[in-house]
Symmetry: C2
């Protein structure tokens, strides 16, 4: 019920949207293919393997919709959509290396080592290619916004490494980290998608704010679903965050209300990563009993209320996006 409240609905709009996005996404995919070509076959193999490993192309879809709402989807829209997906994939690749390094489970195997090397270099390659694609829009504002966004994402990563291994992380700090790591790129995708379609700077900025909030809502909902979904319909295994000791919003809310005994359990399972088979279920009930999921979704709903559309265009955008967002959340990331 809480989830339904977060995701407002417009099914017919969503069907139109799906075909619109699908048509453009075919162009995006063709452009991605084209830009992954390399004299070094290994780069192409690894990059394609990663780019086509089940990502739902949510961020490119934001670019496409933001351009669509402002009148037209041009070659610049398509280039920008591909660039945003490249930036997203590059940060995911580097994240994986970092998370692995931090967990340090035993000596790395040869495969793990090659994996790290490939992840670092293919990430760098995709990042460079993203900027090559952006240059083709001929719009320096796009480059300015997305280079700044890239720096903010990285700074968010560092902040997360420094601050987020503690249950004392405040809700505010947690939202800021989420903002840097996820919401900024959502916002930039909406803003730049609007700009290349001819939106005024102010209209595009309004779209940035809407996209930013959408990113927060997306991440909060995703963090809740990681505990609630019990099958693999989303294509990822539930409980990943728990197993990795990722201190998300539901966990912070639960910790704030937890007893001494429960805090001992939280420390043991999520900081020391000393977990047994039943611990995920116990964790789920612990969060539930302290209204961790409810509070997280209430915060997401609050953020949604704060970003009411001001104009007709923003209203249309919101309807389309809510449909898209639900689609993404019920499949996978």
């Amino acid at each position: 019920m809480a989830l339904a409240a977060v995701h407002e609905n417009s099914l017919t709009a969503f069907e139109n949207l799906s075909s619109l996005v699908a048509d453009s996404m075919r162009l995006v995919d063709a452009l991605i293919d084209d830009h992954l070509k390399s004299d070094i076959p290994l780069i192409e193999q690894i990059a394609k393997h990663i780019i086509y490993s089940g990502g739902k192309r949510l961020r490119p879809a934001l670019v496409i919709l933001a351009s669509h709402i402002h009148g037209h989807i041009s070659p610049s829209t398509i280039a920008l959509a591909a660039a945003v997906e490249f930036i997203h994939t590059a940060t995911l690749l580097h994240d994986d290396v970092i998370d692995e390094s931090d967990l340090r489970r035993g000596t790395p195997t040869a495969h793990t080592v090659w994996g790290n090397t490939a992840a670092i270099l293919v990430g760098d390659f995709l990042f460079a290619k993203a900027f090559e694609l952006m240059v083709t829009t001929g719009d320096l504002r796009v480059l300015q916004i997305l280079s700044k966004t890239s720096a903010v994402i990285t700074a968010g990563e560092v902040r997360q490494l420094v601050e987020s291994h503690s249950f004392d992380l405040s809700i505010e700090a947690s939202l800021q980290i989420m903002g840097a790591k996820t919401a900024e790129l959502f916002g930039a995708a909406c803003q730049t998608g609007a700009l290349v379609a001819g939106a005024s700077d102010q209209d595009a900025l309004d779209f940035y704010h809407y996209g930013y909030n959408l990113g927060l809502i997306f991440q909060i909902t995703d963090d809740v679903l990681d505990y609630q979904v019990t099958n693999d319909a989303r294509g990822k295994v539930p409980g990943d965050d728990f197993r990795e000791g990722k201190i998300t919003l539901p966990v912070i809310y639960a910790y704030q209300m937890a007893t001494v005994e429960e805090r001992k359990f939280l420390n043991q399972t999520m900081i020391e990563l000393n977990q047994t088979a039943e611990d995920l279920n116990r964790m789920r009930h612990l969060i539930e009993s302290h209204k961790g999921f409810e509070k997280s979704l209430a915060l997401a709903a609050d953020i949604m209320r704060q970003s009411q559309p001001l104009t007709h265009k923003q209203g249309d955008f919101k309807v389309l996006l809510n449909g898209l967002l639900r689609e993404c959340l019920t499949r996978n990331k």
Copy 2:
């Protein structure tokens, strides 16, 4: 003597050059400081530590000289010089992680792990900041050239990982890898430095070719010096390449002429990294006896002969650069 032949001389020009570059470099350093500011103190600390750890700012100097030769050093020159240094530092940081992973000497310590994480993220941060700086030039050609260069550098890294762990690497392939990893950024620094000072596209392209060749000569000479310098005047320990099993040009030349017994030694020390204290000296004599250094420097001299200046500007540039290059090679990288 061979080294002296490679580095043509013009001492007076070099003294003028030093003060010109020094003045501009102060502005570059101030801009670097400014762009390393971050809400996350750790980023600033790590980035500054790395940026100020003894780099000789050779690539920014190329940008400055290329602008100077074409009439004036503007704020765009300074921004570009800082950006090129950021790209160079970012690639060095990621290189370190990759080299460390490949060697895999024992289980990583906590310090090593934090080092890797920091190196990846600070590298990404610097790369993003480089593009922010480039945007301030307002020149899309600069962004086009340097995003392409960044992709080529990464592709060169991957190619090196795949191909260069064998003595059978051809001279041509070795030059291509050197080209991608080192010479492209030298070329791009010269080309974009010229462009932002108002050079024509063709003049700038000529500067690119000159810079590219300069990069090859720089790298070849550096690889020779790694065996020949016996004190630490360059700020780096001689024999690093040997200890890391880096198969450079002098080694390839030596291997081509080596006896069965010598090839056994080369395999044991440079592939298996099974080395004793006297092996560096033995290696030096082995390369010397097969004219590995001589042939490498002759190739560098050939490349220099192929890039004769066509215009007065290119002639001036060459005189200034030769002085600068020698200065850099006799100190450190």
